[in-house]
């Protein structure tokens, strides 16, 4: 672990140094330095193509890094796998897959089970609890193709909850969901924070950033700004991140 310059402060949840990711020589993220504080709700915002999803996937080790380094809780990412839960965009899977809601949530327990071992009664109980937390317990035996978009998102969230991780990375959990789901997700995020977990969310709706989140990272291929929402989420930084097409300005909202 790195020496801690602040003395007693907890180590960072995630530290990203000089991260560059490129697809076919085309940089998607350029030399990004950013750190995520433990126990905070952090939003990653930026225009389409800003590399928000890529940043999350790079942290998870799902895309090759052209340069740079990622540390999770002061460790190399492959040594911190069980500390991190990932909620991908819900369009990333085939919802016609022949399985039930409970079974999908149980997939979140596979990481701790490791190879060969099957989920048992204890895992099923935890999956049931997680479904209750997101208000989907009545749907446990339902085929996943019968869910609405918001219900799919809540099931994905439940799957992340059973991973029992310290850090949660979520890719646009609020995208296209109903009001009830949005409330349910926000409640879960706050509960996670109250228990000392770190939550990092790729977020689209700029008008809710200040309401939902403690910290924000503005991204557009480069890191534009990051820090507590009051400091980093300014009109000027939004202009820098979004160019001329700022969909929302603080002073106007």
């Amino acid at each position: 672990m790195r020496p801690d310059p602040d003395g007693g402060a907890p180590p960072l949840a995630i530290e990203v140094n000089d991260l560059t990711v490129a697809y076919r020589e085309q940089p998607v993220l350029w030399d990004v330095d950013v750190s995520f504080r433990q126990g905070a709700l952090t939003a990653i915002v930026g225009p389409n193509g800003a590399g928000k999803t890529t940043l999350i996937r790079a942290i998870l080790g799902l895309v090759p890094l052209a340069a740079g380094m990622v540390r999770i809780l002061g460790r190399a990412p492959e040594d911190a796998r069980t500390e991190v839960a990932y909620v991908p965009q819900r369009g990333s899977v085939d919802w016609d897959f022949p399985t039930s809601v409970l079974d999908l949530v149980l997939m979140g327990t596979y990481g701790r089970l490791g190879w060969f071992r099957r989920p048992g009664a204890a895992e099923r109980d935890r999956a049931g609890e997680a479904l209750e937390k997101v208000g989907m317990e009545a749907f446990a035996e339902r085929q996943i193709s019968q869910l609405s978009g918001g219900q799919q998102q809540r099931v994905f969230l439940a799957r992340a909850l059973v991973q029992d991780a310290r850090i949660y990375l979520m890719d646009e959990p609020f995208q296209g969901v109903d009001a009830r789901t949005e409330t349910a997700i926000v409640e879960v995020l706050r509960e996670l924070r109250a228990r000392g977990n770190t939550v990092i969310v790729v977020h689209h709706a700029l008008q809710t950033v200040a309401e939902y989140f403690d910290e924000v990272v503005l991204l557009n291929v480069r890191r534009i700004a990051s820090g507590p929402v009051e400091e980093a989420f300014t009109d000027e930084n939004l202009r820098l991140a979004y160019g001329g097409r700022v969909p929302f300005l603080r002073s106007a909202g």
């Binding site: 022949p98 596979y110 099957r118």
Partner: protein, 375 residues
């Protein structure tokens, strides 16, 4: 029915089930066409192996052919990975190249040997009982039954042991990777399984019909269930029944056994496609027709509500006027009214005057503010 026929049927069923099990994951992974590629390119492995050891029954042949199958997958992914070629084009480029080399080699050097084009395309399951597996002079049955039985056992074992890993990496490769289950490892392990199975089945049913046995039973099973374990079991069952039925069809019509087996898997699929309880065509038509009548019942309620107590209610709310005002055929109007009566939305007064029930009134009001449920 004689012993030879029994042995052929047993072999046919074993081959079909062994193909259908990995086929389930091929279909779920949207890689059905990869089975076509593998089943063709393994011929190159068989030919090269044959030149090497000079014996078509040698175990090394299976090894060489399996390796060619996995090589096909790797080459397709390499080509696709350059992003200059789409995946389907990559498949169509790779396997004909390997297959054509094999065909040329057979024509050039294996003239006298029984590696002929018919056997390659259709297999020779009818001759399988003549190649016996003997041990210390003891006849233990057809050799291909042992080979295929071993491959079936391998498939059952692998899918049983790695069920959770296969399911996870098939459904959500991103999560599998982030949880530390290498999807690449699972993928190549699985493709090795598919290759071994294709090699074993090749001998019995040839390179083209392997595809039917791998894809049709799972595709049919997927229409019948939405649980993966049930889908696996149903695929196996459909495969076995199709294989045995195919044998009897072939005997009855003096046709190719392998061709009839594959044909019966097609029949099973068409049957499921038409008759599956929820996803079949018939069920879909019935559901649409029912929804049309239900929606019409709602329209009827709204129509009655609008004219309730009005001056023209006497005229508007008669069954025979519905066809005129709502432009329904008399037959359809009668069906709608019957349905609405059964649902308790309307009651008939006298011979054909319709009155809304309180329930019907509520449904009409509710229906006007809310769009009908989308289905």
């Amino acid at each position: 029915m004689n012993g030879v026929h029994l042995e052929i049927q047993l072999l046919a069923a074993v081959v079909a089930v062994a193909c259908a099990l990995p086929g389930v994951f091929l279909v779920l992974r949207r890689m059905a066409l990869m089975s076509d590629a593998i089943s063709h390119s393994i011929l190159l492995g068989i030919v090269l192996g044959f030149f090497w050891v000079g014996d078509l029954g040698h175990p090394l042949l299976i090894l060489a052919a399996t390796a060619t199958g996995v090589l096909t997958v790797a080459l397709v992914e390499l080509l696709h990975g350059t992003r200059r070629v789409k995946e389907d084009a990559a498949i169509a480029l790779v396997f004909p190249a390997l297959f054509s080399i094999a065909v040329i080699l057979i024509a050039q050097r294996a003239g006298g040997v029984h590696l002929d084009v018919d056997a390659v395309l259709l297999g020779e399951i009818a001759f399988a009982p003549f190649r016996r597996f003997e041990w210390n002079g003891l006849d233990l049955g057809p050799r291909s039954l042992w080979v295929m039985g071993g491959i079936l056992a391998l498939n059952l074992l692998a899918i049983g042991l790695f069920y959770k890993e296969l399911k996870l990496s098939t459904f959500d490769a991103g999560l599998a990777a982030s949880l530390g289950f290498s999807p690449v490892l699972v993928h190549y392990g699985f493709m090795t399984l598919v290759s071994v199975t294709a090699v074993g089945a090749f001998d019995a049913v040839g390179s083209i019909l392997v595809v039917a046995l791998m894809i049709a039973p799972p595709a049919a099973a997927w229409l019948l269930t939405d649980r993966l374990p049930v889908m696996l079991a149903l695929s196996g069952l459909i495969a076995a029944v199709s294989a045995i039925a195919g044998f009897h069809v072939a005997i009855a019509f003096d046709a190719s056994i392998a061709g009839s087996m594959a044909g019966m898997t097609g029949v099973a699929f068409v049957g499921a496609f038409a008759l599956a309880p929820e996803r079949g065509l018939v069920a879909q038509w019935q559901r649409r027709a029912r929804q049309r009548v239900e929606f019409a019942g709602l329209m009827l309620s709204i129509h009655l509500l609008n004219h309730e107590g009005g001056a023209r209610a006497e005229v508007e709310n008669r069954v025979e006027h519905l066809s005129e005002h709502l432009r329904w055929s008399p037959d359809f109007a009668r069906r709608v009214v019957r349905r609405a009566e059964r649902d308790g939305l309307v009651v008939r007064e006298g011979r054909d005057r319709l009155l809304l029930t309180p329930l019907g009134r509520e449904a009409a009001r509710h229906g006007m503010v809310q769009a009908p449920p989308a289905r």
